[in-house]
Protein backbone atom coordinates (compact mmCIF):
# COMPACT_ATOMS: atom_id res chain seq x y z
CA UNK A 1 0.00 0.00 0.00
CA UNK A 2 2.87 2.39 0.66
CA UNK A 3 5.14 2.64 -2.32
CA UNK A 4 8.00 4.82 -1.06
CA UNK A 5 10.41 3.02 1.25
CA UNK A 6 10.68 5.92 3.69
CA UNK A 7 7.69 8.23 3.29
CA UNK A 8 7.37 11.14 5.64
CA UNK A 9 3.93 12.52 4.94
CA UNK A 10 0.64 11.13 3.61
CA UNK A 11 0.43 10.93 -0.18
CA UNK A 12 -2.24 12.52 -2.36
CA UNK A 13 -4.44 9.41 -2.45
CA UNK A 14 -4.58 9.21 1.36
CA UNK A 15 -5.57 12.86 1.56
CA UNK A 16 -8.18 12.31 -1.16
CA UNK A 17 -9.82 9.41 0.70
CA UNK A 18 -9.81 11.26 4.02
CA UNK A 19 -10.95 14.58 2.54
CA UNK A 20 -13.75 13.10 0.46
CA UNK A 21 -14.86 10.82 3.31
CA UNK A 22 -15.03 13.67 5.83
CA UNK A 23 -16.73 15.94 3.29
CA UNK A 24 -19.43 13.36 2.49
CA UNK A 25 -19.99 12.32 6.12
CA UNK A 26 -22.52 15.12 6.81
CA UNK A 27 -24.30 14.23 3.55
CA UNK A 28 -24.60 10.62 4.77
CA UNK A 29 -25.90 11.88 8.09
CA UNK A 30 -28.46 14.07 6.32
CA UNK A 31 -29.63 11.11 4.19
CA UNK A 32 -29.85 8.91 7.29
CA UNK A 33 -31.93 11.47 9.18
CA UNK A 34 -34.25 12.20 6.27
CA UNK A 35 -34.85 8.55 5.34
CA UNK A 36 -38.37 7.34 6.06
CA UNK A 37 -39.06 5.53 9.35
CA UNK A 38 -39.83 1.80 9.39
CA UNK A 39 -43.42 0.53 9.62
CA UNK A 40 -42.76 -1.50 12.76
CA UNK A 41 -39.80 0.19 14.39
CA UNK A 42 -40.46 3.81 13.49
CA UNK A 43 -37.44 6.10 13.77
CA UNK A 44 -35.51 3.45 15.74
CA UNK A 45 -34.58 1.80 12.44
CA UNK A 46 -32.22 4.73 11.73
CA UNK A 47 -29.59 3.28 14.05
CA UNK A 48 -29.07 0.98 11.07
CA UNK A 49 -27.18 3.73 9.18
CA UNK A 50 -24.43 3.59 11.81
CA UNK A 51 -24.76 -0.04 12.86
CA UNK A 52 -24.47 -1.64 9.42
CA UNK A 53 -21.50 0.46 8.15
CA UNK A 54 -19.74 -0.25 11.46
CA UNK A 55 -20.16 -4.00 11.09
CA UNK A 56 -19.28 -3.88 7.38
CA UNK A 57 -16.04 -2.02 8.06
CA UNK A 58 -15.19 -4.44 10.85
CA UNK A 59 -15.54 -7.34 8.41
CA UNK A 60 -13.72 -5.51 5.60
CA UNK A 61 -10.86 -4.40 7.85
CA UNK A 62 -10.34 -7.90 9.24
CA UNK A 63 -10.33 -9.20 5.66
CA UNK A 64 -7.59 -6.74 4.73
CA UNK A 65 -5.66 -7.81 7.85
CA UNK A 66 -6.09 -11.42 6.73
CA UNK A 67 -4.78 -10.63 3.22
CA UNK A 68 -1.77 -8.64 4.41
CA UNK A 69 -0.99 -11.22 7.11
CA UNK A 70 -0.83 -13.87 4.37
CA UNK A 71 1.32 -11.57 2.23
CA UNK A 72 3.64 -10.99 5.17
CA UNK A 73 4.11 -14.70 5.79
CA UNK A 74 4.95 -15.30 2.13
CA UNK A 75 7.11 -12.21 1.48
CA UNK A 76 8.45 -11.31 4.95
CA UNK A 77 8.23 -7.61 4.14
CA UNK A 78 7.54 -5.47 7.25
CA UNK A 79 5.39 -3.11 5.16
CA UNK A 80 2.71 -5.81 4.86
CA UNK A 81 2.79 -6.32 8.61
CA UNK A 82 2.19 -2.60 9.16
CA UNK A 83 -0.87 -2.56 6.89
CA UNK A 84 -2.23 -5.65 8.67
CA UNK A 85 -1.74 -3.87 12.01
CA UNK A 86 -3.35 -0.65 10.77
CA UNK A 87 -6.37 -2.47 9.40
CA UNK A 88 -6.89 -4.59 12.52
CA UNK A 89 -6.82 -1.47 14.68
CA UNK A 90 -9.43 0.33 12.58
CA UNK A 91 -11.50 -2.86 12.31
CA UNK A 92 -11.58 -3.16 16.09
CA UNK A 93 -12.82 0.42 16.45
CA UNK A 94 -15.62 -0.03 13.90
CA UNK A 95 -16.60 -3.48 15.23
CA UNK A 96 -16.84 -1.81 18.64
CA UNK A 97 -19.12 0.82 17.10
CA UNK A 98 -21.28 -1.95 15.63
CA UNK A 99 -21.51 -3.66 19.03
CA UNK A 100 -22.43 -0.46 20.88
CA UNK A 101 -25.00 0.71 18.32
CA UNK A 102 -26.35 -2.85 18.20
CA UNK A 103 -26.89 -2.84 21.96
CA UNK A 104 -28.60 0.56 21.82
CA UNK A 105 -30.85 -0.80 19.09
CA UNK A 106 -31.56 -4.10 20.84
CA UNK A 107 -32.89 -2.57 24.07
CA UNK A 108 -35.94 -0.85 22.54
CA UNK A 109 -36.63 -3.49 19.86
CA UNK A 110 -35.75 -6.89 21.39
CA UNK A 111 -36.18 -5.79 24.99
CA UNK A 112 -32.62 -6.43 26.22
CA UNK A 113 -29.20 -4.86 25.63
CA UNK A 114 -27.48 -8.19 25.25
CA UNK A 115 -28.34 -11.86 24.91
CA UNK A 116 -26.05 -14.76 24.01
CA UNK A 117 -27.60 -15.56 20.67
CA UNK A 118 -25.49 -16.77 17.71
CA UNK A 119 -24.81 -13.47 15.90
CA UNK A 120 -23.98 -11.61 19.10
CA UNK A 121 -21.85 -14.43 20.47
CA UNK A 122 -19.81 -14.88 17.28
CA UNK A 123 -19.31 -11.11 17.02
CA UNK A 124 -18.17 -10.92 20.64
CA UNK A 125 -15.66 -13.72 19.95
CA UNK A 126 -14.50 -11.90 16.81
CA UNK A 127 -13.96 -8.71 18.82
CA UNK A 128 -12.11 -10.59 21.57
CA UNK A 129 -9.78 -12.28 19.04
CA UNK A 130 -8.61 -8.92 17.70
CA UNK A 131 -8.19 -7.55 21.21
CA UNK A 132 -5.95 -10.61 21.65
CA UNK A 133 -4.14 -9.64 18.44
CA UNK A 134 -3.01 -6.39 20.08
CA UNK A 135 -2.20 -8.04 23.41
CA UNK A 136 0.06 -10.41 21.49
CA UNK A 137 1.71 -7.59 19.56
CA UNK A 138 2.34 -5.76 22.80
CA UNK A 139 3.85 -8.82 24.46
CA UNK A 140 6.52 -9.64 21.84
CA UNK A 141 9.51 -7.33 21.49
CA UNK A 142 11.36 -8.89 18.56
CA UNK A 143 9.82 -7.19 15.47
CA UNK A 144 10.13 -10.24 13.22
CA UNK A 145 8.65 -12.70 15.70
CA UNK A 146 5.94 -10.18 16.59
CA UNK A 147 4.95 -9.80 12.94
CA UNK A 148 4.86 -13.57 12.40
CA UNK A 149 2.77 -14.29 15.49
CA UNK A 150 0.40 -11.41 14.67
CA UNK A 151 0.03 -12.69 11.09
CA UNK A 152 -1.01 -16.10 12.45
CA UNK A 153 -3.74 -14.50 14.59
CA UNK A 154 -4.73 -12.20 11.71
CA UNK A 155 -5.27 -15.22 9.45
CA UNK A 156 -6.98 -17.51 11.96
CA UNK A 157 -9.11 -14.72 13.43
CA UNK A 158 -10.62 -13.94 10.04
CA UNK A 159 -12.29 -17.39 9.92
CA UNK A 160 -14.78 -15.90 12.39
CA UNK A 161 -15.96 -13.29 9.89
CA UNK A 162 -17.87 -15.61 7.53
CA UNK A 163 -19.13 -17.57 10.56
CA UNK A 164 -20.42 -14.36 12.11
CA UNK A 165 -21.99 -13.23 8.83
CA UNK A 166 -23.73 -16.57 8.24
CA UNK A 167 -24.65 -17.20 11.89
CA UNK A 168 -28.14 -15.75 11.45
CA UNK A 169 -28.82 -18.36 8.76
CA UNK A 170 -27.01 -21.38 10.18
CA UNK A 171 -28.51 -21.22 13.65
CA UNK A 172 -31.75 -20.19 15.20
CA UNK A 173 -31.20 -16.67 16.36
CA UNK A 174 -32.92 -13.60 17.70
CA UNK A 175 -31.08 -11.37 15.23
CA UNK A 176 -32.96 -10.96 11.96
CA UNK A 177 -31.39 -12.40 8.80
CA UNK A 178 -29.58 -10.09 6.36
CA UNK A 179 -31.76 -7.38 4.83
CA UNK A 180 -29.30 -7.15 1.94
CA UNK A 181 -28.55 -10.82 1.50
CA UNK A 182 -25.22 -11.31 -0.29
CA UNK A 183 -25.79 -15.07 -0.65
CA UNK A 184 -29.13 -14.81 -2.47
CA UNK A 185 -29.05 -11.21 -3.72
CA UNK A 186 -32.44 -10.48 -2.19
CA UNK A 187 -33.07 -7.04 -0.70
CA UNK A 188 -35.82 -6.48 1.86
CA UNK A 189 -35.65 -2.73 2.14
CA UNK A 190 -37.47 0.38 1.00
CA UNK A 191 -35.52 2.02 -1.91
CA UNK A 192 -35.12 5.31 0.01
CA UNK A 193 -33.66 3.48 3.02
CA UNK A 194 -31.44 1.36 0.78
CA UNK A 195 -30.01 4.45 -0.94
CA UNK A 196 -29.23 6.11 2.40
CA UNK A 197 -27.61 2.90 3.68
CA UNK A 198 -25.52 2.34 0.54
CA UNK A 199 -24.35 5.95 0.59
CA UNK A 200 -23.26 5.62 4.22
CA UNK A 201 -21.51 2.33 3.44
CA UNK A 202 -19.63 4.13 0.64
CA UNK A 203 -18.63 7.09 2.86
CA UNK A 204 -17.44 4.82 5.69
CA UNK A 205 -15.43 2.76 3.20
CA UNK A 206 -13.72 5.92 1.91
CA UNK A 207 -12.85 6.89 5.48
CA UNK A 208 -11.53 3.39 6.15
CA UNK A 209 -9.24 3.57 3.11
CA UNK A 210 -7.92 6.94 4.27
CA UNK A 211 -7.49 5.79 7.88
CA UNK A 212 -5.69 2.56 6.98
CA UNK A 213 -3.17 4.36 4.74
CA UNK A 214 -2.58 7.05 7.36
CA UNK A 215 -2.19 4.52 10.18
CA UNK A 216 0.22 2.37 8.13
CA UNK A 217 2.30 5.49 7.51
CA UNK A 218 2.39 6.28 11.22
CA UNK A 219 3.44 2.68 11.88
CA UNK A 220 6.22 3.06 9.28
CA UNK A 221 7.49 6.23 10.99
CA UNK A 222 7.41 4.41 14.35
CA UNK A 223 9.40 1.51 12.90
CA UNK A 224 11.95 3.98 11.47
CA UNK A 225 12.38 5.50 14.91
CA UNK A 226 12.71 2.06 16.51
CA UNK A 227 15.55 1.21 14.10
CA UNK A 228 17.41 4.47 14.60
Amino acid sequence: MLKAAHPERPDALTWAFLGLGLLLLPVGLYLALSAPPDVNQGYLARIMYLHVPGAWLGYLAFFVTFLYSLLYLFRQDPRYDRVALASAEIGLVFMGLALVTGMLWARPTWGVYWTWEPRLTTTAILFAVYVGYFLLRGAIEDPELRAKAAAAVGILGFINVPISYMSVKWWRSLHQTQSIDLTTGKIHMDPAMLQALLFNLFVFTLLYLGFVRLRALVAALEAQKEEA
Binding site: V39, G111, W171, R172, Q176
Partner: protein
Amino acid sequence: MRTKYLFGLVVILGALGYLVFGGLGQNLVYFLTPSEYLQDQARYQNRPVRLGGLVKPGTVQYDKDRLELRFVLTDGVAEVPVFHKGTPPGMFKEGQGVVVEGRFQEGVFQGTNLLVKHSESYQAPKAGWTPEEVRKLIEEAK
Protein backbone atom coordinates in the same frame (compact mmCIF):
# COMPACT_ATOMS: atom_id res chain seq x y z
CA MET B 1 8.40 -22.89 4.66
CA ARG B 2 5.44 -21.95 2.48
CA THR B 3 3.98 -25.45 2.23
CA LYS B 4 4.19 -25.70 6.03
CA TYR B 5 1.95 -22.64 6.45
CA LEU B 6 -0.45 -23.81 3.75
CA PHE B 7 -0.72 -27.25 5.34
CA GLY B 8 -1.49 -25.72 8.74
CA LEU B 9 -4.11 -23.44 7.22
CA VAL B 10 -5.86 -26.32 5.45
CA VAL B 11 -5.95 -28.41 8.65
CA ILE B 12 -7.45 -25.56 10.67
CA LEU B 13 -9.99 -24.62 7.99
CA GLY B 14 -11.01 -28.27 7.76
CA ALA B 15 -11.48 -28.55 11.51
CA LEU B 16 -13.56 -25.38 11.62
CA GLY B 17 -15.61 -26.50 8.66
CA TYR B 18 -16.36 -29.73 10.49
CA LEU B 19 -17.38 -27.83 13.62
CA VAL B 20 -19.69 -25.56 11.67
CA PHE B 21 -21.30 -28.03 9.28
CA GLY B 22 -20.93 -31.12 11.44
CA GLY B 23 -22.46 -32.01 14.75
CA LEU B 24 -21.86 -28.77 16.63
CA GLY B 25 -24.77 -26.91 15.02
CA GLN B 26 -27.41 -29.13 16.61
CA ASN B 27 -26.12 -28.52 20.13
CA LEU B 28 -26.03 -24.75 19.83
CA VAL B 29 -29.72 -24.03 20.07
CA TYR B 30 -30.59 -20.54 21.24
CA PHE B 31 -34.26 -21.34 21.78
CA LEU B 32 -36.60 -24.33 21.64
CA THR B 33 -39.93 -24.42 19.89
CA PRO B 34 -42.94 -25.43 22.02
CA SER B 35 -43.26 -28.78 20.20
CA GLU B 36 -39.57 -29.58 20.76
CA TYR B 37 -40.01 -28.84 24.44
CA LEU B 38 -43.15 -30.94 24.81
CA GLN B 39 -41.54 -33.90 23.03
CA ASP B 40 -38.62 -34.02 25.41
CA GLN B 41 -39.95 -32.57 28.63
CA ALA B 42 -37.92 -34.79 30.97
CA ARG B 43 -34.68 -33.39 29.57
CA TYR B 44 -35.57 -29.78 30.39
CA GLN B 45 -37.27 -30.47 33.73
CA ASN B 46 -36.49 -27.83 36.35
CA ARG B 47 -34.12 -26.06 34.03
CA PRO B 48 -34.56 -22.53 32.75
CA VAL B 49 -35.23 -22.64 29.02
CA ARG B 50 -35.92 -20.26 26.18
CA LEU B 51 -39.04 -20.89 24.13
CA GLY B 52 -39.44 -19.24 20.75
CA GLY B 53 -42.52 -18.91 18.57
CA LEU B 54 -45.31 -16.61 17.51
CA VAL B 55 -47.79 -14.80 19.73
CA LYS B 56 -51.09 -16.46 18.84
CA PRO B 57 -53.53 -13.75 17.66
CA GLY B 58 -56.47 -13.18 19.97
CA THR B 59 -54.83 -14.64 23.06
CA VAL B 60 -53.05 -11.57 24.46
CA GLN B 61 -54.35 -10.39 27.84
CA TYR B 62 -52.56 -7.57 29.58
CA ASP B 63 -53.52 -6.28 33.02
CA LYS B 64 -52.20 -2.73 33.11
CA ASP B 65 -52.63 -2.26 36.85
CA ARG B 66 -50.88 -5.44 37.95
CA LEU B 67 -48.50 -5.57 34.93
CA GLU B 68 -49.52 -9.13 34.19
CA LEU B 69 -49.20 -10.32 30.62
CA ARG B 70 -50.75 -13.58 29.44
CA PHE B 71 -50.65 -14.99 25.92
CA VAL B 72 -50.32 -18.24 24.01
CA LEU B 73 -47.04 -19.04 22.27
CA THR B 74 -47.32 -21.25 19.21
CA ASP B 75 -45.05 -22.78 16.58
CA GLY B 76 -47.98 -23.89 14.45
CA VAL B 77 -47.95 -27.38 15.98
CA ALA B 78 -47.93 -27.02 19.75
CA GLU B 79 -49.24 -24.23 21.93
CA VAL B 80 -47.97 -23.07 25.31
CA PRO B 81 -49.70 -20.65 27.70
CA VAL B 82 -47.25 -17.99 28.88
CA PHE B 83 -47.44 -15.79 31.96
CA HIS B 84 -45.07 -12.83 32.19
CA LYS B 85 -44.92 -10.15 34.86
CA GLY B 86 -43.85 -6.81 33.47
CA THR B 87 -44.55 -4.35 30.72
CA PRO B 88 -44.41 -5.91 27.23
CA PRO B 89 -41.69 -4.41 24.97
CA GLY B 90 -42.85 -1.76 22.50
CA MET B 91 -42.77 -4.07 19.50
CA PHE B 92 -44.76 -6.84 21.20
CA LYS B 93 -48.00 -7.55 19.33
CA GLU B 94 -50.18 -10.38 18.07
CA GLY B 95 -48.54 -12.57 15.46
CA GLN B 96 -45.07 -11.27 16.38
CA GLY B 97 -42.13 -13.65 16.84
CA VAL B 98 -40.99 -13.74 20.46
CA VAL B 99 -38.48 -15.58 22.64
CA VAL B 100 -39.44 -16.10 26.30
CA GLU B 101 -36.92 -17.03 28.97
CA GLY B 102 -38.33 -18.84 31.97
CA ARG B 103 -39.55 -22.21 33.19
CA PHE B 104 -42.70 -24.30 33.36
CA GLN B 105 -44.78 -24.32 36.51
CA GLU B 106 -48.02 -26.31 36.63
CA GLY B 107 -48.50 -26.29 32.88
CA VAL B 108 -47.94 -22.55 32.46
CA PHE B 109 -44.64 -21.14 31.20
CA GLN B 110 -43.52 -18.49 33.69
CA GLY B 111 -41.52 -15.94 31.71
CA THR B 112 -38.75 -14.00 33.40
CA ASN B 113 -37.58 -12.24 30.26
CA LEU B 114 -39.52 -11.43 27.12
CA LEU B 115 -37.65 -10.78 23.88
CA VAL B 116 -39.17 -9.66 20.60
CA LYS B 117 -37.79 -10.88 17.30
CA HIS B 118 -38.30 -8.44 14.44
CA SER B 119 -38.08 -9.18 10.74
CA GLU B 120 -35.29 -8.30 8.29
CA SER B 121 -37.69 -6.30 6.17
CA TYR B 122 -37.58 -2.49 6.35
CA GLN B 123 -40.48 -0.68 4.76
CA ALA B 124 -41.67 2.89 4.94
CA PRO B 125 -45.21 3.40 6.29
CA LYS B 126 -47.86 4.09 3.67
CA ALA B 127 -49.08 7.35 5.18
CA GLY B 128 -48.86 9.53 8.25
CA TRP B 129 -45.08 9.63 8.54
CA THR B 130 -44.01 12.49 6.30
CA PRO B 131 -41.95 15.10 8.22
CA GLU B 132 -44.81 17.62 8.00
CA GLU B 133 -47.31 15.21 9.51
CA VAL B 134 -44.94 14.24 12.30
CA ARG B 135 -44.26 17.92 13.08
CA LYS B 136 -48.00 18.51 13.27
CA LEU B 137 -48.40 15.60 15.68
CA ILE B 138 -45.64 16.98 17.93
CA GLU B 139 -47.15 20.47 17.91
CA GLU B 140 -50.60 19.13 18.74
CA ALA B 141 -49.21 17.21 21.69
CA LYS B 142 -47.82 20.34 23.37
